[in-house]
C-alpha cells in the first residue's frame, strides 16, 4: 500500500497539493488495515456501526466516529502504536497525559517525527530570533508542553529554564474552593520564574496569560522582560482582547506576543494567525489536514456558521495516531480557515461564557 500521501512534509515545507479526500482515504486504510493499524483501532473497529475504509470519504464523515478519548484512560499505550510505523517513524518522544481535569488522565503516544513537525508549525514566528534561551513557566511532568519547550530551546541553540506548573493541583485547589492556597501556589511559581528572570538571560518566555499577568505585577520583572525577552509565547488559558491589547501596547510593546492553542488530545497545537482581526482576538489555524477543528452547536452537534460561538471538536489525523471527533470542553468563535483547509479555524477560545449579573430579588440593591 502506498502511504507516501501520509508522510509529513519536509521541515519548513507546507503539505502541498494534498487532496483532502485522497488523504482521508489513505488514512483510513492505514489505521484500519491489519498490517498497519494499531491494536486499539483494530479492536475498536469491531464495535463501530460503519466501515471506516468504505464509509469515511470526506471530513464530514469523521462525525461517524464516536468520541473514543475516554478509553485512553485505561488502554495500554503499546496498543496505541500503529503497526505500520517503522524505523525513524517509530521513534517515540514520550507518553503524555491530558490535564486530568475531568477524571483520570488520558494517555497519548507522541512520536518524534510528528513532534518535530508539530513544533515547527509556528516556526516562522521564531525564525528571526536566532540564539536564545527559553524560560517555560508551564506544565512539564506528564504533559507534552514541557518537552515542546525543551525542543524549542534546542532549535535556538539555547538552554531551557523550566518552572513547573502543576495544572492538576491548581484545579484540585480551585475545585474545593481553596482560593487562598491556589494563590499561594501561583505566588510560589511566580517567585521561581522571577529568580530565573533576575539571574539569567531569557530570550523566549513561554507561559499562560494568567501567569504573565502575575509576572506583570512586578515592575522590575516587567523591566527585565522588556530588556531581555524577544518573544512571548502564551498558551493554556483564555486571553481576552483587552488584556491582549494591554500586554502588547502598554506592558511589552514591540515584543511579539503569540499564542498557541492546543491539546494533548491532538498531540499538538494550532498557531496564532499573523493577520489581525478587527475585534482584537487572537485567531488560530491548525495544521490541516493533520489536525482539524470544527465548532459545533452543543445542543445539536451541527457546525455553527463563521463568526458564531460553539464548542470545539478536535481531530488528530496522521499516520501516527487517529483521534477523531473529540468534543473538547472549550468554546470558541468559528472563523473561516485558509482556503482549501479542512474544518475550521478558531478565535476567542475559552470556557463557556458566563453571565455573572443574575437578578437578586430580595433587598434593595
Amino acid at each position: 500500500m502506498s502511504t507516501t500521501v501520509l508522510d509529513l512534509p519536509e521541515p519548513g515545507r507546507p503539505p502541498s497539493d494534498l487532496d483532502p479526500q485522497e488523504y482521508l482515504a489513505a488514512l483510513m486504510r492505514w489505521h484500519f488495515s491489519t498490517e498497519t493499524g494499531s491494536a486499539f483501532w483494530l479492536r475498536r473497529v469491531r464495535g463501530l456501526e460503519f466501515d471506516p475504509i468504505a464509509d469515511v470519504r470526506t471530513f464530514d464523515d469523521l462525525r461517524l466516529f464516536p468520541n473514543v478519548v475516554d478509553e485512553f484512560r485505561d488502554v495500554p499505550v503499546e496498543d496505541l502504536i500503529p503497526r505500520g510505523l517503522t524505523g525513524a517513524d517509530r521513534a517515540i518522544a514520550g507518553v503524555y497525559e491530558s490535564g486530568g481535569t475531568t477524571g483520570r488522565p488520558k494517555r497519548f503516544v507522541m512520536f518524534d517525527r510528528w513532534m518535530e513537525f508539530a513544533l515547527g508549525w509556528d516556526e516562522a514566528h521564531y525564525t528571526p530570533l536566532g540564539q536564545a534561551n527559553v524560560l517555560a513557566v508551564a506544565p512539564s511532568g506528564p504533559h507534552m508542553f514541557g518537552e515542546f519547550a525543551r525542543r524549542r530551546a534546542r532549535r535556538h541553540d539555547g538552554v531551557l529554564f523550566s518552572v513547573d506548573l502543576d495544572p492538576r493541583w491548581i484545579k484540585a485547589l480551585l475545585g474545593r474552593g481553596d482560593t487562598e492556597e491556589s494563590e499561594r501556589y501561583v505566588a510560589h511559581v511566580v517567585d521561581q520564574a522571577a529568580h530565573v528572570l533576575r539571574t539569567q538571560t531569557v530570550g523566549v518566555l513561554i507561559t499562560t496569560p494568567p501567569l504573565l499577568e502575575r509576572l506583570s505585577r512586578h515592575d522590575d520583572l516587567v523591566e527585565i522582560i522588556r530588556k531581555d525577552v524577544r518573544y512571548i509565547c502564551w498558551s493554556g488559558a483564555h486571553l481576552d482582547a483587552d488584556t491582549r491589547d494591554l500586554f502588547r501596547d502598554e506592558l511589552f510593546p514591540g515584543i511579539p506576543l503569540k499564542g498557541l492553542y492546543g491539546s494533548t488530545t491532538i498531540l499538538g497545537m494550532s498557531r496564532e494567525r499573523d493577520v489581525e482581526r478587527a475585534d482584537g482576538l487572537a485567531a488560530f489555524d491548525p495544521p490541516s489536514p493533520y489536525i482539524a477543528f470544527r465548532v459545533v452547536d452543543p445542543a445539536t452537534g451541527d457546525d455553527v456558521a463563521d463568526e458564531q460561538r460553539g464548542q470545539v471538536v478536535m481531530n488528530h489525523l496522521t499516520k501516527y495516531a487517529l483521534i477523531p471527533n473529540n468534543l473538547e470542553r472549550d468554546h470558541a468563535l468559528r472563523i473561516a480557515p485558509p482556503p482549501g483547509w479542512l474544518g475550521a479555524s478558531v478565535a476567542d477560545v475559552g470556557p463557556v461564557a458566563t453571565f455573572a449579573d443574575s437578578p437578586v430579588i430580595e433587598g434593595v440593591y
Binding site: E213, D242, L246, A356, D357, P359, V364
Partner: protein, 471 residues
C-alpha cells in the same frame, strides 16, 4: 417643571450612542469588551466598557503610587465639585438631561433623582464639617497642630485605597463614599451596569474640580473583576442584597450595604393617627428603593386600623412613567416586576393583604411597569415577613407588646421609635444590631450630612496615633 424632554438628550439616548468608558489614571479607557445599556422599557441607551483584571490592577497600583492631596485642597475641591456636579454639562448631559437619563435608565422617578442629586451635592459641600464631627475630640487632624507639642492624638488613615461597588437603584448610594475621599483615601468606583451615569458624573465632577485622576477612578467591570477591585483595595463599600452581606460580612475591611429592614415602632402612649402621613412617606420615599425606607411597622395595640389607613394613603399614589414630574413610584422592566410580584405572593403566605394583594404590577403604555405599593398585616411580632425588604414600597404591619421585647426590632438600619418611654430608647441604643435610632416625628428616611448613616466611614477608615514632638 416642564414635562417635555430636553431634545438633545432624548435624541442622544434614543440613538443608543451613550458610551460609559473607564476613567483611568491615564484618562478615559474604552475596552473592547462592552455590554449594552438599556432603559427600563428595553430601549438601547448605549454601551458600558467592561475593563479586564489587568487594567484594574495596573490602575490600582498607579493610584497607590500617587501622592495624597493635602486636606485643605481636598475639601476645597469637593466644594467646587458640588457645583460642577449640580450645574455642569458632563459627557454631553446638562443637569436636566442627566436627571432624565438616570430616570429613563433606572426607572427612578425624576423627582427622586433630583432629591438624590441634592443629597450628593449637600454631602460634597459639608465634608469639612463632617470630618470635624467624626474626628475624636482628642485627636488633631494634622500633626502640625500645636497640640502635638504637648502630646496628643493624631488622626491617621488606616489605608490608602477605598473601593466602591455601587448599586443602581438610587443615585443616593453615591452620598456615602465622598467621605472617604475627604479623608484622603484614593477612591475607585465600580459603577452599576444599570445606572452608571451618576458615578460617571460624580467622578468627572471631582476631577474637574481638581482631584488628580490617580486619586479618583471609575472602573466598570463584570462581577468577577469587581471582586479584584474589592480584594486589592484596603477597604470597600459594597451594595447588594442579603447574598452580598453573607459573602462579605466576615471580612472586616468590607462594609456591606445590604437590606436595611428599617422599622417604625408605635407604642401605646402615642396616637399614630397624627403620624400616618409621616409613616406613609417613610415607606414610599425614593420609591421605596432605599435601605432607609420603612419595611415594617410594629404597633402596640391593634395594628389593623393603622394598616388600613396606610393602605389607603399608599393606594392613592398614581402610576406614572418615571420621567413624569409627578411620579413617585419606581418603574422596572415588566418581566422583573412580574417576578417581584410572584416572589411577594410566595413570601406573603398567610399575611393579610390590604393593598397590592392581587398584583403590584401596573404596566405602562410606553413600556415597563410600575411597582405599586403593598401593605400586609401579620398577626405576630415574630412573623418572618417583617424582615422581608423588597425594592418598592412594601410594608408589613404587625402587633408588638412590651413582653415581645427587642427581638422583633433587631437587625434594623433605622428604627423610628414613636414613643415617650425613655428606658425603651436606652435599650434600642444599646442594641448592637440597630444602627440608627430616631425618636418621635422623624421618618426612617431622614438623613443629614454629618449625622451618621452606618456610623461615620471614619469609624472604620481612620485611627488615632499618639504623637509628641519638640519645637
Amino acid at each position: 417643571m416642564d414635562a417635555t424632554l430636553p431634545a438633545a438628550t432624548t435624541a442622544l439616548a434614543a440613538a443608543g450612542t451613550v458610551q460609559i468608558d473607564a476613567l483611568g489614571v491615564m484618562g478615559p479607557y474604552r475596552s473592547r469588551s462592552r455590554v449594552p445599556l438599556t432603559s427600563v422599557s428595553g430601549a438601547p441607551i448605549g454601551e458600558i466598557s467592561q475593563v479586564p483584571a489587568l487594567y484594574v490592577r495596573r490602575t490600582l497600583a498607579a493610584m497607590r503610587a500617587a501622592p495624597v492631596v493635602p486636606a485643605d485642597e481636598r475639601l476645597a475641591a469637593m466644594e467646587r465639585a458640588a457645583d460642577v456636579f449640580a450645574t455642569a454639562t458632563i459627557g454631553g448631559f446638562d443637569p436636566d438631561g442627566y436627571v432624565e437619563l438616570v430616570s429613563t435608565a433606572s426607572g427612578v422617578p425624576r423627582a427622586v433623582v433630583r432629591q438624590s442629586v441634592e443629597w450628593i451635592t449637600d454631602v460634597l459641600r459639608s465634608q469639612r464639617e463632617v470630618l470635624e464631627l467624626a474626628r475624636p475630640t482628642g485627636a488633631v487632624g494634622d500633626w502640625r497642630d500645636g497640640r502635638t507639642y504637648a502630646g496628643s492624638a493624631v488622626w491617621a488613615r488606616r489605608g490608602d485605597l477605598f473601593a466602591v461597588h455601587a448599586a443602581g437603584n438610587t443615585p443616593a448610594v453615591h452620598g456615602l463614599w465622598p467621605e472617604a475621599l475627604a479623608l484622603g483615601y484614593k477612591v475607585v468606583v465600580r459603577p452599576s451596569s444599570r445606572e452608571p451615569y451618576t458615578a460617571f458624573r460624580l467622578v468627572t465632577a471631582l476631577r474637574e474640580a481638581g482631584f488628580p485622576p490617580a486619586t479618583i477612578t471609575l472602573l466598570p467591570t463584570d462581577h468577577g473583576v469587581a471582586d479584584v477591585i474589592i480584594g486589592e483595595s484596603d477597604f470597600a463599600i459594597v451594595y447588594g442584597g442579603q447574598d452580598v452581606v453573607d459573602k462579605y460580612g466576615a471580612i472586616p475591611t468590607v462594609l456591606p450595604q445590604g437590606p436595611g429592614r428599617s422599622k417604625i415602632l408605635v407604642t401605646a402612649d402615642v396616637d399614630w393617627r397624627e403620624k400616618i402621613d409621616l409613616i406613609a412617606g417613610s415607606v414610599s420615599h425614593l420609591g421605596g428603593t432605599a435601605c432607609t425606607c420603612t419595611t415594617a411597622v410594629l404597633v402596640e395595640g391593634d395594628p389593623a386600623p393603622l394598616a388600613e389607613a396606610l393602605a389607603q394613603r399608599l393606594g392613592r399614589i398614581p402610576s406614572l412613567p418615571a420621567d413624569d414630574p409627578q411620579a413617585i413610584l419606581t418603574v422596572q422592566p415588566t418581566a422583573s416586576v412580574v417576578e417581584i410580584d410572584r416572589y411577594l405572593h410566595r413570601i406573603a403566605g398567610n399575611a393579610r393583604p390590604l393593598l397590592g394583594g392581587d398584583t403590584i404590577v401596573d404596566e405602562l403604555p410606553g413600556g415597563g411597569a410600575v411597582l405599586r405599593p403593598a401593605v400586609h398585616l401579620v398577626d405576630s411580632a415574630t412573623a418572618p415577613q417583617l424582615g422581608v425588604e423588597l425594592p418598592f414600597p412594601c410594608v408589613w404591619i404587625g402587633p408588638w407588646r412590651p413582653s415581645d421585647g427587642l427581638a422583633p426590632l433587631r437587625d434594623t438600619l433605622v428604627l423610628t421609635a414613636m414613643t415617650t418611654r425613655g428606658e425603651l430608647i436606652d435599650a434600642l441604643l444599646d442594641d448592637p444590631t440597630i444602627t440608627n435610632v430616631y425618636v418621635g416625628d422623624h421618618p426612617t428616611t431622614w438623613l443629614r450630612p454629618g449625622v451618621p448613616h452606618d456610623g461615620y466611614l471614619a469609624d472604620v477608615l481612620m485611627r488615632t496615633k499618639g504623637m509628641i514632638r519638640s519645637a
